[in-house]
């Protein structure tokens, strides 16, 4: 089974600043995918960014980027120029055959 660990249950950041959310995972699979999902107060899960494990290049999606360290099994999310709408729970997830989610990081953007 895979495990996903998010060691920061809560974080806060000033509006317009940069914040990094950490995630580590454990898998024995060679082919897998990594994701960050955002869950705002409305509770709908929204994909933030996706990384294919066989790709060395870090994924980037506008203000969101990842630092994927395959050997260390680390997959952190960097949010640049934080906005109030970024306030949400952020879940890291890994997938080979099943999705495994971490316990989440609650991010608050402070105006």
């Amino acid at each position: 089974a895979q495990t996903v660990t998010q060691s920061q249950p809560e974080m806060s950041v000033q509006e317009a600043e940069t914040v990094t959310l950490s995630c580590t995972y454990d898998t024995s699979e060679n082919n897998y995918y990594l994701f960050w999902y955002k869950q705002p107060p409305s509770r709908q899960m929204i994909l933030v960014i996706r990384q294919e494990a066989y790709k060395q290049q870090n994924a980037t999606e506008n203000r969101f980027s990842v630092n994927f360290q395959k050997a260390a099994k680390s997959f952190s999310l960097k949010i640049s120029d934080s906005q109030l709408g970024d306030t949400a729970m952020y879940f890291c997830a890994s997938m080979s055959y099943q999705f495994y989610f971490g316990t989440g990081t609650s991010l608050t953007v402070i105006p």
């Binding site: 897998y32 995918y33 994701f35 999902y37 409305s42 509770r43 709908q44 899960m45 929204i46 994909l47 996706r50 294919e52 879940f91 997830a93 997938m95 055959y97 099943q98 999705f99 495994y100 989610f101 971490g102 316990t103 989440g104």
Partner: protein, 113 residues
């Protein structure tokens, strides 16, 4: 933009009753999923469904649960003889291919009393 829909948004049921949660995945997606999230906890995978059969299931998905795609659009999760600990948000998701983005529905909040 196409989206996954779920009905009802909130279901209250008595312990021991059967419930059916309904989902309409995105129309050209081939893979369908159910997840549950107990309040304040992480999202847990229940089951994936492809080509009219279960492709993966977790330990949570025991004989109490079943899934069905009764027609070309709906995807249902049936929970037989509900227990108090089944109270949770249940999310449906769909994707075009394994490993690609899963689009989540808004969830059904199930409350078992």
């Amino acid at each position: 933009e196409p989206e996954v829909t779920q009905t009802p948004s909130h279901q209250v049921t008595q312990m021991g009753q059967e419930v059916i949660l309904r989902c309409v995945p995105i129309s050209n997606h081939l893979y369908f999923y159910w997840y549950r999230q107990i309040l304040g906890q992480k999202v847990e995978f229940l089951v994936s469904f492809y080509n009219n059969e279960i492709s993966e299931k977790s330990e949570i998905f025991d004989d109490q649960f079943s899934v069905e795609r009764p027609d070309g659009s709906n995807f249902t999760l049936k929970i037989r003889s509900t227990k108090l600990e089944d109270s949770a948000m249940y999310f449906c998701a769909s994707s075009w291919e394994v490993g690609y983005e899963q689009y989540f529905g808004p969830g059904t909040r199930l409350t078992v009393t």
